[in-house]
Structure formats: C-alpha cells, structure tokens
Amino acid sequence: MEELHTRHTLLQKLQIRQDDQTWEDFSRYYEGYIYIVLRNFGLSVEDSEDLLQEVLLKLWKALPNYNYEKDKCRFRTWLCVIIRNTVLNFHRKKSTKNSKQNTNFEDIINKLELISEAEIDHISEREWKTYVSNLAWENLKADFSGVQLSVFEASLEESNNAVLAEKFEIAESSIRVYKMRIRKALCKEISRLNLELGG
C-alpha cells in the first residue's frame, strides 16, 4: 500500500483501483481545474458548476479505459477534450430545447466545434500552469510572513527592486532575498504538485 502511495501519481492510482479515497483526492484536486476550463469555454458560473459534476462523472466512467501515455497526449489535454465535448453536448441540448428563444446557441456550437486540437492543447496548458502554480502558492502562504508575501505578489507586477524597496520601505537587498526565497519554494512546490497530480 505504502509503495503504491509514493510511487504512483494520483492518476495512476486511480487507474489501478478506483476506491473512494483516491477518487476523492482526485476530484478535490481536479475540480478546480475543470471548473476553470469550463469557464474558459464561455460558460456561466452556474452552468460551470453543473457541468463540473457531469465531467467528473464522465471521467469516473472513462478513466479505466484511458490509456496513459504521457508522450502521446497529456492527461490534461485528454481531459480538456472531454470537457469540450461535454460543453458541446450541453449547448446542443440547450439549443434544441430553446431553439425558438435563442438562436445564438448555433453560433456557440459552431465555434466550439471549430476549436482545434492545438487550441485545446493551448488552453489546457495555460490553465494547468496557472492552476498548479496558484495551488502551490496557496500551499506556501502559511510558511511566509505577510511582508514577504506582499513583496512577492507586488514583484509579479513590478520587476524593479528599487521601486519595491521604496514602496515597502525596506532595503533593496531584503527585497531580493524575499523574492529569491519564495521563488525557490514556489518552484519546488509546483514541481511536487505537478508530479503528484500527474496531469
């Protein structure tokens, strides 16, 4: 059991045995990502929350058949294709239901169908990076002081240390050290999360 836990990513574990605990871990980590991709496809907050459950259900069914080959296609790309198809179905249903009320659905469907593999790949990549980085950032927050966190957040907008030093009224060298420390910790945490999630 222990071996399983350390050696395999969350994804691999789920493929080997779909127990409740592993599934819970998986969905906890992935639902945020799925949600944000759904929003990317232009869904409202409410629709996104609804479809999120639908996507998770699809995953639950499809995962045992998913052939994990990292080099060929990343899990997150495959996941995004599923999300795109789910969104497409959602719109189709909606359009038949409400064909008389809203003709815009046709357009949306057309647009979604036109989204190529490459574009999906791009969206999945971009959102995955943001998602994992921010997860890592949240995990780290407890380890650093308020000033350090503020300095780091500000440094994302302002690269000039001198300006930051003036803004926070601390020495420029301190700014540099704060940035470096958090940067290193953040990169480490991102690496860990990425590996763990196996996306």
Partner: protein, 690 residues
C-alpha cells in the same frame, strides 16, 4: 464564486521555471550549458562588421559580451573576424579587454569577451564640461588613464601587434578606474616582431580583406588616426601610427577637444594627412596646459614618423616624469596644493612669475577700460605672449630642477667608473651628469679629466673652464691640442713627454690615466711594444740604453728577464702575452700582471716576497725559484699545475696539499729531508734541480 476565479495568471511563469530541469545543482547547470551555453542576448552596439551583444554564459554563470558578424556572406569577412578574435585573445594584459572564447555556431563565427561596465574615455571627456564633480576634472587623473593605455600598447607592440584604431571611444574605464583598450578590429601583426603562434594570422595581412571601413580606403578613425593611415601620404603604417594616435589622445586629454577636425570628411582627411591641428595651448588658453605635456603631445603627433617618439615606452616615460614630478610630492593634491608645492620648490622663480602675473593682471585691468577695442586686443595679445613666454620659462626651469635631483646619482656612478679606469662608462655617466645639472663644478672637472685622458684636449679645456677652477692641466691641453695626428692621438714620444709633464706638476693620476687610455686602445703590436718600452724606461726612471724586451707574436711569450732596473710594469696592461719572464728583475709585486690572461709566469730571482697580490685565474705554470717566498697558501684558489719553489723560503710542504690543481712541483736537491717529502701527496709529481 470559486477561488479559482481569482487565480493569478502571472504565477504561471514559475511553472515553466519549475518545469525546466533542476536548476539547483551546479553540476547540472554546467552540464546543461553544453549545447546552449549563451542566453539572454541584449544588443549593445554595432560597428564595422560586428554586432556586439551582452549575454549570460550559463557555464560560468557570468555576463559576457559576444561579438558576431553582422552579415556572414563573405568567407573573407569570417576570416578577418576570427583573426581579430585570435589576435585580441593573444593579448593578455590587465589593460587590454580579454577574449574568453572563440567559436563557430553553424558556420557563424563568434567570440566572447569580458563585459566591461563603466564608460569610454570619449564619453568621460564629453561629460567633463557638464559634470563638475567628475574626478577626471583633475588632469593628473586623466594622465593616469593615459599611462595605462600606453602600458597596453607598449605590451601589444612588444608582441608585434599594432592597434591602428586608437581613440578615446576604444578606451573603456570602469567605475573603479580599470582601463581597458578595446576593439582590435583593425589591428595588424608585424611579422618580424610577433611570435610563432601569431604567424598563422600574418598570412592574411598581405591582402586587405575589409574594405568596409570608413570610405573603403581609409582604415581608422579620422580625428585620431595618423597621417599615414590616410592614403594621401607616402609613409608606411606601423608602431609609429599608434604613437601618433596616442599623441592625439593625449591632445584630447589635455584640451578636451579633438585634435583633427574638418567641416567635411574630405577636409578632415586632408587635415589629417597634412597634420594640421592647433597647438593645445592655443586651442585652450583657459586650461593652462603644462608646457612639457604640450611638447610631448606635439612630438608624438609629428607628420614624419621618424620625428615621433621611437617607442611607446619613451612617450610614457615623459608623461611619468611629469606625473611623478607632481604626484610623488603633491599626491593627488588639488591644483592649489600642487601650485603651493611648486612654489615651495621654486621660490624665486615663482615669486617672479607672480609679480609678472600681477603686473599683467593690473595692466589688463586698466586697458579693459579702454574703449579702443582694436588697441585693446593688440595689447592683450602681447600680454598673452609675454605671459606664455614667462610660463614656458618657468616650466623649463622646473624641468631642470627635476633633472638636477637625478644628477648626483649619475655623478657618483661616473666617479666610481673613473676610479676603476672604466673610461667608457665614466664618460657616459659624466656626460649625463653635466647635461642634467650644468651647475655641478666638480662634474665639469671630472669631465675635463676624462677628456684629457682620451687626449680630447679641446673638450678638456672647455670642461675645465666650466669647472670654474684654473686647472693646471689647461696649459698642457692647450699646448698639445695642436699636436694631435690624423687619428686624434699624440705621437708616442709626445705622449710620453706629456706624461712626464703631468708627473712634474704632481698629476700622477693623469699620468696613469693617459697610459691607461693609450693601452686600452686597439694598438698595433709594434706600436704597443714601442710604447711599452718607452714607458717602462720612463716609469722606472731608467736612463740607460740597454734593455731586454723580446716578444714572440707566435708563442706570445714576452721576455723581460735581466732588466735589473725594472720595478714597475703597469704599462703591460692589455699586452697580448700568454707567458712572461720577469726573472732577474726588481719586480716586487704581482699587481702589474693582475688583469693579464697569462698562463706562464717566471719571477725567479726577483724581489717578490708574497703571493697575495697574484690573482691570475689563467695561470698554469709559476716559477718562483730564488725568491723570498715562504707562504704558498694564497695559491690554493688558483689553477696552478706546475710550480717551481726551488731555492725559496718555503718550509711547509703540507701547503701543497691545499693546491688542488697542482700536478708537478720542482724542488732543489736537499731542500727538504726525505721524511718531509712524504707529505707531498701522490698526485703531485716531484722534480729536482741542482
């Protein structure tokens, strides 16, 4: 709303950083820099054929400068480019920008250099007009830069490399004062001076590969390049071209202006070719440019190469002399403090100068009131030239003062050389002494003596006269100066007569000097023999006509035996004898043969009593019989192989043991009892005479 909505996309950049291979291990860093060693390129400059960028060398983890070709369409350009890289790389000097690496990336040549922060000299000088706080306001600070540039070029010249594009813009100065000479793109190699490794690069220089310079013909930077770098003069380019450019840089350092200018490019080139530029002091009368530095500048910037300094070292030395004159005592002093020290050193002159200055200021002030502008200008002009003349005079005096301080050292050296009869050295040193310090009367006297010894009587008279003393030798010199023959020498009889006169007036040293000088000349053997014979008689005060003097040029044997009157024989100095027979003379010391390279010496039946004065290292055979010699120990450091000690006072045969080189000893029969003879070691053969 979900928290994901608030996620910051900016953080995703760290995902890429984290995703790249582990950057925490230096081993990995160095390993991974194998293929893509350089990154983060930023454009810095473009010039000629090159593009200059800064970048990060991931292997060493430092910022470097990379040069690449702007267009890589001509194999000749590639060769030229690599030549510059190789040539610059061969120059390893603290004041020359170092090349780190040279290479090809898919046939594109590149080389990396040290990244130099700071400013170039051109910029520093431009900024001087506005930046009041720059430390380079101080001329001495600027001269320090110049001296370092001289060092760099001097080194390059010693390696057979000439820069050919020296200008303030190619001299980089860091904020800590490091000076680096850059851009060796036009540099050339002097095949005769460079070392083996650089000869590879020489083959290219016969054909001019880069026509892409200023106008296709002119190579260099107009304004600082030498006349011969234009095509309008006939002179060849060489080290002297760099010396001209150094002079032009010095001009800029002094005046803060370019020496060579022109309204158009053609005019500039023409001015360069004709060497047409104003005098620094005329261009900037407001800056009080030191006269001596102006002179250095003008000499370096002569039109004719042979009129310039012969080496960068010479040029640098002049600057150093000036620089040391101030700095050693004034040490970064402000202009006021330096002036103070100057006044302290030259009180009278300075007072005079001050009076003149005050007078001039007064006159100027009154004339300023005059409304007659024309007259005023004329007066001002006259005053300025007067002031300048005065200043020049002060500068000259000042330099003389510096020189005077060095004179005593040369005088000491001259005296030492004279005392040891090294007349050539003595002459060199005393000439320098009197050049540096004309007021040293003793030096003039010594100079007179040296000229006298060399039979240069007219020069001797002049020197004696400058010594301020009524020298007794002056009449003798006057008498003999007309008697010199075509070789500038007195006839031997005349010389001996003169030597006698010297002795009579108590100048025995001059007697010896004359003799020494005569013998150190390359005399014909007949002349030498004749002179020796005469001097021997004269010196020993021998009035008789009988004299045994036999010299065999074949065997180089000189026989002086039987001359009972012979005591002194210093005239044998430089006599080409290998062996000398002094037997049955009154010789009492070996000093006479001190410097002779003889191998055999016979002093039997003479008055010698000791061997301490014998120091001839070449001596192999020594005949001492029938002398009062008793102590053989002084021989232990010599290389004597055969020794005749029959009929001497030698008692201690043990002493023979000490002479390691000894092979044979000659004794008379019954000189020692048999048991004593056993003390002679086996290696020494014993011979007996009656």
């Amino acid at each position: 709303m979900r928290k994901e909505e608030q996620f910051n996309p900016a953080l995703s950049s760290f995902f890429d950083i984290a995703d790249t291979p582990d950057d925490s291990s230096l081993t990995d860093l160095v390993r991974n820099a194998k293929t893509n060693r350089y990154s983060d390129f930023k454009d810095l400059a473009e010039g000629g054929l090159k593009k200059i960028q800064t970048c990060i060398d991931k292997r060493t983890g430092r910022q470097v400068v990379m040069a690449t070709l702007l267009q890589n369409d001509n194999p000749a350009h590639t060769e030229k480019f690599l030549k510059e890289a190789r040539l610059n790389a061969s120059l390893q000097h603290p004041n020359i920008v170092p090349v780190y690496d040279v290479g090809l990336k898919e046939d594109e040549p590149w080389f990396t250099m040290k990244f130099l922060e700071g400013k170039n000299l051109g910029k520093i000088i431009n900024e001087l007009t506005s930046d009041q706080n720059s430390k380079y306001k101080n001329l001495n600070e600027r001269l320090d830069i110049f001296i370092k540039v001289c060092d760099a070029i001097s080194y390059a010249h010693s390696r057979g490399i000439i820069h050919m594009d020296l200008k303030p813009e190619n001299i980089q100065i860091s904020s800590f004062g490091d000076v680096s000479v850059c851009d060796w793109g036009l540099a050339d190699i002097l095949a005769s001076d460079c070392d083996e490794l650089l000869l590879d690069l020489c083959t290219l220089t016969s054909v001019d590969l880069t026509e892409r310079t200023v106008d296709g013909v002119v190579k260099g930077s107009p304004g600082f390049m030498a006349p011969e770098q234009t095509t309008l003069t006939e002179f060849r380019k060489g080290k002297h071209s760099d010396i001209f450019s150094l002079g032009a840089i010095l001009f800029t350092i002094l005046t803060l202006r370019k020496p060579l200018i022109g309204d158009s490019f053609e005019e500039l080139i023409k001015n360069t070719a004709q060497c047409k530029f104003p005098k620094p002091s005329e261009l900037r009368p407001d800056l009080n440019i030191p006269f001596s530095l102006e002179a250095v500048c003008l000499k370096a910037m002569q039109l004719k190469p042979e009129m310039r300094y012969h080496s960068v070292e010479d040029l640098k030395k002049e600057i150093m002399d000036y620089r040391n004159g101030f700095a050693t005592e004034a040490e970064n002093a402000s202009a006021l403090k330096a002036l103070k020290l100057f006044i302290l050193r030259n009180k009278i002159i300075s007072t005079l100068a001050l009076i003149v200055l005050i007078a001039i200021i007064a006159v100027t002030a009154t004339t300023m009131k005059s409304l007659n502008l024309e007259k005023e200008n004329a007066v001002k002009e006259a005053e300025r030239s007067k002031l300048e003349a005065e200043r020049n005079r002060i500068e000259k005096e000042y330099h003389e003062r510096i020189n005077i301080e060095a004179a005593p050292r040369f005088f000491e050296a001259a005296k030492n050389a004279y005392n040891t009869y090294q007349f050539n050295d003595a002459y060199k040193f005393i000439s320098t002494t009197t050049e540096l310090d004309k007021s040293n009367l003793e030096a003039w006297e010594l100079k007179g003596l040296i000229h006298f010894a060399r039979q240069q009587f007219q020069k001797a008279i002049e020197a004696f006269e400058k010594s301020g003393k009524n020298n007794k030798l002056i009449p003798l010199a006057k008498e003999h100066k007309t008697k010199l023959d075509s070789t500038g020498q007195l006839h031997i009889d005349e010389l001996i007569k003169l030597m006698g006169q010297c002795l009579r007036i108590g100048q025995s040293r001059v007697f010896t000097d004359l003799m020494h000088e005569k013998f150190s000349l390359d005399l014909k053997i007949e002349d030498r023999i004749e002179f020796c014979k005469k001097v021997l008689k004269f010196h020993n005060n021998y009035k008789g006509s009988e004299m045994h003097f036999a010299y065999d040029p074949e065997t180089q044997h000189l026989d002086l035996s039987g001359n009972e009157w012979l005591r002194i024989a210093f005239c044998l100095q430089k006599f080409p004898a290998k062996s000398i027979n002094f037997s049955n003379t009154s010789l009492s010391s070996f000093l006479v043969i001190r410097a002779l390279p003889i191998t055999t010496l016979d002093v039997s039946h003479t008055k010698v009593t000791e061997l301490n004065s014998l120091s001839s290292a070449t001596l192999k055979k020594l005949i001492l019989n029938n002398t009062l010699i008793s102590n053989l120990l002084p021989l232990k450091d010599l290389q004597i192989e055969i020794l005749d000690i029959s009929n001497t006072q030698v008692i201690h045969l043990v002493q023979l043991n000490e002479i390691n080189s000894l092979k044979e000893v000659i004794l008379h029969k019954g000189q020692f009892p048999k048991n004593k003879l056993k003390q002679i070691p086996d290696r020494i053969k014993v011979k007996f005479v009656d």
